[in-house]
């Protein structure tokens, strides 16, 4: 093997793995307590409103979503209603509604999205899942946002967790996790047709049909497409980076019995994003993914989820460079109540990423074809203490990857119910960002055989230890407030190191930056009246990074990121009798330090009118406060301004 595993590390990992397996065998077949002990203690359920109580599944087989709501972490949820009321057209726009995310539109097709900082077009410390499928390219350990498309009406909710999630989700869930969850096809029956067009929106349309094939077996099929407007360059000329995409797919949901749920999902898309704009040949991006999932409640005391997916993405960058990625992923996790005071969660995951690129003469990933294997196991115990008022969660993930061998990502969390409506929580976790192909295998040549930039075979994982402290309260039935604070200590963050003199080439990647970041995330939801809801938040973020001795980072310790210090999001949703909805989203993004970009305030507004059950008309204005502004300056292509958009949308449901 190219990267031999340290024998001692290997032994420790084997020990942990065997510990885990012995636990599985040691578990009794029956006799453990109600699984939902900590999830549905009377205290926890009493805090819910009548509406919320009515929304709880009697037999719940969805392990993770339930867990998140109870988790001692900085979680914020964007609901379908929030998305609908905001007038968002795309997933990325919907993510603007999470006050704990940094979201910046770079040009017509590219976005820079991160949480707790380190934002960049190639941001690599955020993990994104769509219905349990990780959307990730090992090219740079990030997300190609231009192919993450969803019919937004299908979305049930988006859970955004800022902070580390390595123990449950594994490497790359360093600064946050975005979990996009779509509705069951049982909830999307009938015909759905929508079409939108406007000034600066060439067009967007979707068609969906859902129904029932048999008792407890429902399905939906959909097709959606758009052509999004071009951005303008700094001299207000059209950048001609307008692009389009079409996507279709189907979903089957089958609940043969109360304790079994099977889901089969498939999506296929093709798009032609063109970030460079002008006469440049467009990127061609295509993909298909298929996912199958089985949720099974073994008893009221134990359940498991088994999931497998295949995700094929293909991208032709238009200059001869192509990326072909086939991801095979199998995931199993189980949860068992062990006694009345413990809930054990454990799981195994295997992932193969068959990654193939077509290299250019001067731009190459070597080897062009690489199979990246990742296997991992995790074990987490949730322990109820002090009359069930304190919940201690401890666990760890052990993961193995091609580049750095074994990685350990433990965490410990404590949630303390101060009173009926107040929770104080704190956590310490370690997460890593494992090397991507760009870190290890990338070569950019000045001339054939003379590299200007070269990946470094010694590049190791970036790591973070996060200390979090948070407080959640509901002082009134209609007001909930969450405050999360964090102090992150980073080490081995990527740097660009100059080569040997006299020319300083090749530039290689090093792990030369360390430092800390800290911040505050305040968010609230306030139901002022049955017809008026306000939600939003404020995020403060400060990074303090420094170059380690021995490193000569050409980026001067910036970690290639550019983050606002202050950020505010406020969303107002008003329902007026007669089926009229008024929505507004105001967001303020502070200046970006390097490259400097001035602060901006954006306002989106929407007026919607529902005529009975079948028809809905909407008028949406996005970026109403200025006719155009820059949100992020990428290293390439040149900066683009995002223009105001006004569009109308007609939706029919039968």
């Amino acid at each position: 093997m190219a990267y031999p595993i340290n024998a001692r590390q290997h032994r420790i990992s084997v020990l942990c793995l065997s510990l885990l397996l012995s636990l599985l065998l040691a578990l009794p077949v029956d006799g453990y307590a109600q699984l939902s002990d900590s999830l549905s203690s009377p205290e926890a359920l009493k805090r819910l409103s009548l509406e919320e109580l009515m929304n709880i599944q009697v037999t719940s087989v969805s392990r993770r979503s339930e867990k998140l709501n109870e988790a001692a972490s900085a979680i914020q949820v964007i609901t379908q209603k929030d998305i609908h009321n905001s007038g968002a057209k795309t997933v990325a726009e919907a993510l603007r509604l999470a006050p704990n995310l940094q979201v910046a539109q770079v040009n017509s097709s590219q976005w820079a999205i991160s949480s707790r900082g380190f934002n960049n077009v190639l941001a690599n410390k955020l993990l994104v899942l769509i219905d349990g499928r990780t959307v990730y390219t090992p090219l740079y350990a990030g997300v190609f946002w231009d192919v993450q498309n969803i019919l937004l009406d299908d979305v049930d909710r988006i859970e955004v967790i800022s902070g580390p999630g390595g123990t449950l989700w594994g490497a790359n869930a360093v600064n946050g996790i975005i979990n996009i969850i779509t509705k069951s096809s049982a909830d999307t029956r009938g015909l759905f047709v929508e079409g939108a067009i406007g000034s600066n929106l060439p067009g967007q349309g979707s068609l969906r049909y859902g129904g029932q094939l048999a008792k407890n077996l429902s399905y939906r099929v959909y097709g959606t497409g758009f052509k999004l407007p071009s951005a303008v360059d700094t001299s207000k000329l059209k950048a001609d980076d307008s692009w389009s995409m079409i996507q279709g797919g189907l979903q089957l949901d089958w609940s043969p019995s109360n304790n079994n749920k099977l889901t089969l999902q498939q999506n296929t898309y093709t798009g032609d994003p063109n970030p460079d704009g002008g006469d440049t040949t467009s990127i061609r991006a295509r993909g298909t993914n298929i996912l199958a999932r089985w949720d099974h409640a073994i008893s009221e005391k134990a359940d498991f989820q088994l999931q497998a997916y295949y995700d094929h993405t293909w991208r032709d960058f238009g200059n001869g460079f192509t990326e072909d990625l086939k991801t095979y992923d199998v995931d199993w996790h189980n949860r068992n109540a062990l006694g009345r005071k413990h809930i054990l969660t454990y799981g195994l995951n295997f992932r193969l990423m068959d990654h193939k690129v077509t290299n250019l003469e001067l731009f190459a990933f070597l080897h062009a074809h690489k199979n990246l294997y990742r296997y991992s196991a995790f074990l987490q115990d949730e322990i109820l203490l002090l009359n069930d008022r304190v919940r201690l969660t401890i666990g760890s993930k052990i993961e193995h990857n091609n580049y750095t061998g074994f990685e350990v990502q433990p965490n410990a969390r404590i949630a303390w119910l101060l009173s009926k409506d107040q929770t104080l929580w704190t956590a310490v976790s370690r997460s890593v960002r494992t090397p991507a192909r760009i870190d290890r295998d990338f070569f950019l040549y000045l001339l054939p055989g003379l590299p200007l930039i070269s990946g470094d075979s010694q590049f190791h994982s970036e790591s973070m230890i996060a200390y979090e402290l948070g407080w959640r309260t509901q002082p009134m039935e209609n007001l909930s407030i969450s405050l999360a604070t964090f102090y992150n200590v980073y080490d081995n963050i990527r740097t660009a190191e100059p080569g040997p003199p006299p020319f300083g080439i090749p530039i290689t990647f090093g792990n030369g930056v360390r430092g800390k970041s800290y911040g505050v995330e305040l968010s609230a939801t306030y139901q002022l009246a049955s017809w008026w809801q306000l939600r939003g938040g404020y995020t403060f973020l400060k990074k303090d990074l420094s170059v380690k001795p021995g490193s000569n980072d050409l980026n001067k310790g910036s970690a290639e990121s550019n983050d606002p210090r202050h950020q505010v999001v406020v969303q107002s949703s008003i329902d007026i009798p007669g089926g009229i909805e008024l929505g507004a989203v105001l967001r303020y993004v502070d200046k970006l330090p390097d490259p400097y970009l001035k602060a901006y305030t954006g306002l989106d507004m929407r007026i919607g009118w529902r005529s009975g059950k079948h028809l809905e008309l909407e008028l949406v204005g996005q970026n109403l406060l200025d006719s155009r502004h820059i949100e992020f300056i990428p290293s390439s292509p040149s900066p683009r301004q995002i223009e105001r958009v006004i569009y109308g949308r007609v939706t029919c449901r039968f």
Partner: protein, 196 residues
């Protein structure tokens, strides 16, 4: 399972002693936990939720002052029929007060015993028996709750039913009004109103 055992065997070669001790401790913990568990009755999720609903009803329904003997008299939630809640309902109401009245749970054998309670959950599957009980309690300020399909037709006040695996409620307003109970609009807002 045999595969796991083979794996374990292989693994044991690597680390014999710590493995054995850890496993021993784990088995011990599990056994102790199981012993501790015995004697506890924990209801299904469905009845956990229903228990919390019952408690919520006491907050969203007003009883006439005459239904309490004194200002400190308890608000009594009664269970008639087999108790489906284990100790969960008691845990739910423990320490709770409604307008100064402590909330307590009582288990009844027959309708005669139930006459002094405020909220009565009838876990009686037989429709006819339920009907007789409702007749016997007619006119009393008792909020009657049940899962029975024809419960509201029989003059019961609140019925639980499940829709898409979620618990919903249906209210017979006429019956509650006749018993001088005031149901808050908040509860009515989330309930289905039964029209006879």
């Amino acid at each position: 399972m045999p595969i796991l055992k083979i794996i374990i065997k292989q693994l044991m070669k690597y680390c014999k002693k710590p493995f054995f001790i850890i496993r021993l401790i784990l088995i011990l913990v599990v056994t102790l936990n199981n012993l501790y568990l015995q004697g506890q009755v924990i209801p299904s999720r469905e009845y956990q939720l229903k228990a919390v609903f019952l408690f919520n009803f006491t907050q969203f329904v007003d009883w006439p002052p005459a239904s309490y003997d004194t200002e400190q008299s308890p608000l009594v939630i009664g269970i008639l029929g087999k108790n489906p809640f284990g100790t969960y309902l008691e845990q739910t109401v423990s320490g709770e007060k409604i307008n100064g009245h402590p909330v307590i749970v009582r288990y009844f054998e027959n309708e005669a015993e139930a006459k002094g309670c405020h909220l009565l959950f009838l876990n009686i599957p037989e429709s006819k028996k339920r009907n007789d009980i409702l007749k016997a309690l007619k006119g009393k300020s008792i909020l009657t709750v049940s899962d029975g399909i024809d419960f509201l037709e029989q003059g019961g006040m609140i019925r639980f039913f499940t829709n898409k695996n979620k618990i919903k409620i249906q209210i017979n307003l006429e019956a509650s009004k006749a018993s001088e109970l005031v149901v808050s609009s908040k509860l009515l807002g989330v309930a289905e109103i039964f029209k006879p």
